[in-house]
Amino acid sequence: MAAHRPRIVGFCCERHGMDAVVLAARSGKTHDASVRLVQVPCSGRVDGLHILKALEDGADAVVVLGCLEKNCYYDTGSIEGRKRVAYVKSMLKEAGVEPERVEMFNAASTNAWAFPEMVSKMADVVKRLGPLGSGGEER
């Protein structure tokens, strides 16, 4: 039986979040293909609902990638993003779902290591916890 491939969707801000993705790619860093990104103007745009819907729609994990706090182009955007993620984590915990499946990451345009590290960290989380809700069932 083939190992489960993590299905992760990420909401990535179009400023430093995407810049970090680009710098990693152009620095020869490779990472596995588990994370598929939706671009947003700011990580603060992300609503708890988007994260929960993504989990319903088949994601094993969801990440939000934004600029560093205090260096968000929109000032408080990534702080809001983090608040949203924290809120979802607490809801998941109550619902009996592992809160580690949802995570907030911050990166800058000069962080070549941030995105690949995030991908491998979340892929590991999913490999450890298995696909969402089914405790190891193949999709």
């Binding site: 152009r26 490779t30 293909a33 609503d47 000032d75």
Partner: protein, 525 residues
């Protein structure tokens, strides 16, 4: 609604290195609903192949486009310009970053790259189908005035530069000082309130006793530090102590300060009210050295926690020491003290020698100043953030220096935090330059990707008002939230937090984002 999508596959981005099955992508695109044109072209934004792409776009009456390429910001603007001429507005062009999201990192797991690329293509098509054309608005600037709050070193530098660029400057100065300024100088004037947005501000000012409104296009905050304010236990104990600039003035006017002269870094060693910042050192050392040269017999002491003689002022440190200025370092837990009953004696534990020494002084000078007490009012009037130390805060590093998160409002000099004259002047020049460029445009552009409120769903909870850093949401006449388009910067924080889901960010609505995410999760991984 018309929906004819053109899919452009940029070869240089998606096929180098050759990881993807391009014909397969082409097939998926051609078979997708609403796609009327699929083109594979090399270096699409480079120009040569652009005309061919646009020709077909016109023939197939394309009104939106998907370009499988690289990062949006690396696409040459000529692509967007060409599409605009062909009738495709910028917000209906989706640049899918296959290069940096799939192709380049894909070497780790090449067998998964195709499925990911196909998912991204499908998601882009699904998203672009749902988009609506958006247009930007323009508003003319009523005036091209640049108001400069504060006629100190930074303010004067700003006025000079702005005037050189042809802007009309109005300097607002709270004291009665007069100086030659390129534009208008209004002494005894303060800003008490403000409204509007970059390009069209209206400031409420108090000139003497008269209150009036002043229109302007840009504002430069150059309020300086709290120069004459001395707060703290040492200032309280010694009422005759003077701030550093007064010592400087004495030397300028050839007045001899009574010796021994003791310069203490701050009147408040605990740091509760006055934080020692950079400015103290360059000026202290130069003034001390100058005093020693003029009056070699006067004892000069500098009492400090950290000798922050940055850069070339380290040489001034060396010079001062060689001239015989005495330096005493103290640690915060054992700060210098003055007994109010003996207000001309300073006792301090010299941390280098672990000995307590007493200095009987003739003049006590404080090198640090607090932030300007007016900053709070100015920041409130202009709706810009403040720093914990009471200065005005600049925007994040992603915006330009001397800028604030509010377009059209700039801040420079000691208004940010106390700094040396030289740096304040440079900041004033930079702010004047940026402000002049801003007003030169003559009009502001707004709209497009902004927030929109569905009034029936709004419960007027004001969460969006508290969240928006730019004050774009406001309670309108209907008692529900409206978005001031000129202030909205399109971040979507309000849309993300609205508990009633009454706000959407155009081009990034819940449905659009949800569809994109769902489509990405479809298919193989």
């Amino acid at each position: 609604m018309k929906c004819n999508i053109q899919v452009v596959i940029c070869e240089c981005c998606v096929s180098k290195p050759a990881l993807l099955d391009i014909p397969a992508l082409q097939k998926i695109a051609s078979e997708a609903g609403n796609v009327t044109s699929v083109i594979i072209a090399d270096a699409v934004c480079d120009g040569e192949n652009l005309s061919g792409v646009m020709k077909e776009a016109r023939e197939k009456e394309v009104d939106r486009a998907i370009v499988l390429a690289c990062h949006k910001r690396d696409v040459d603007p000529s692509l967007f310009k060409a599409y605009a001429r062909a009738g495709v507005p910028a917000n209906l062009i989706e640049i899918v970053n296959l290069r940096e999201e799939v192709v380049l990192p894909g070497a780790a797991e090449p067998e998964r790259a195709q499925a990911k690329a196909e998912a991204k293509l499908n998601a882009a098509v699904a998203r672009v189908r749902m988009l609506e054309p958006l247009e930007k608005d323009t508003e003319e600037m009523r005036t091209r005035n640049i108001v400069i709050i504060g006629a100190g070193v930074a303010g004067q530098a700003a006025a000079e530069v702005a005037a050189r660029s042809g802007a009309h400057t109005i300097m607002i100065e709270k004291t009665g000082k007069s100086l030659k300024s390129p534009g208008v100088l209004m002494p005894h004037t303060t800003v008490i309130d403000g409204k509007g947005y970059g390009g069209n501000f209206t400031l409420r000012i108090k000139a003497g006793e008269k209150v009036e409104d002043l229109d302007c296009a840009a504002v430069i905050v150059a309020t300086g530090g709290g120069w004459a304010t001395l707060k703290g236990p040492l200032a309280k104990a010694c009422k005759d102590a003077i701030p550093l600039f007064k010592l400087h003035e004495k030397l300028e006017s050839d007045t001899t300060p009574a010796g021994p002269v003791v310069i203490v870094d701050t009147p408040d060693p605990s740091g509760k009210n006055v934080k020692v910042q950079d400015f103290a050192w360059e000026e202290s050392l130069e003034t001390a050295a100058r005093l020693k040269k003029a009056k070699p017999d006067t004892d000069v002491w500098i009492v400090f926690q950290e000798m922050r003689a940055f850069g070339l002022s380290e040489l001034a440190y060396k010079e001062a020491a060689e001239l015989g200025v005495r330096f005493v370092r103290y640690d915060k837990p054992a700060p210098p003290k003055i007994d109010p009953k003996e207000p001309t004696k300073l006792t301090v534990k010299d941390s280098a020698q672990a000995e307590v020494i007493s200095i009987n002084f003739g003049t006590l000078v404080f090198a640090s100043i607090p932030a300007n007490a007016d900053n709070a009012r100015i920041a409130d009037a202009l709706r810009i953030p403040m720093s914990p130390e009471g200065g005005v805060r600049r925007g994040s590093m992603q915006r330009w220096p001397v800028s604030t998160p509010r377009p059209g409002v700039f801040v420079c000099g000691s208004a940010l935090f106390p700094k040396s004259r030289a740096v304040a002047e440079a900041e004033g020049t930079a702010a004047g330059e940026l402000a002049a460029e801003f007003v030169k445009k003559g009009e502001i552009e707004f709209g497009g990707i902004i927030a929109k409120v569905e009034q029936e769903k709004c419960s007027a909870c004001l969460t969006c008002v508290r969240t928006c850093p730019y004050e774009a949401p406001f309670i309108g006449e209907a008692g529900k939230i409206e978005i001031k388009a000129q202030l909205c910067q399109g971040c979507g924080m309000c849309a993300g937090i609205c508990p009633s889901k009454a706000i959407e960010l155009l081009n990034y609505t819940d449905d659009q984002l949800g569809t994109e995410a769902r489509t990405l999760l479809g298919g193989d991984f």
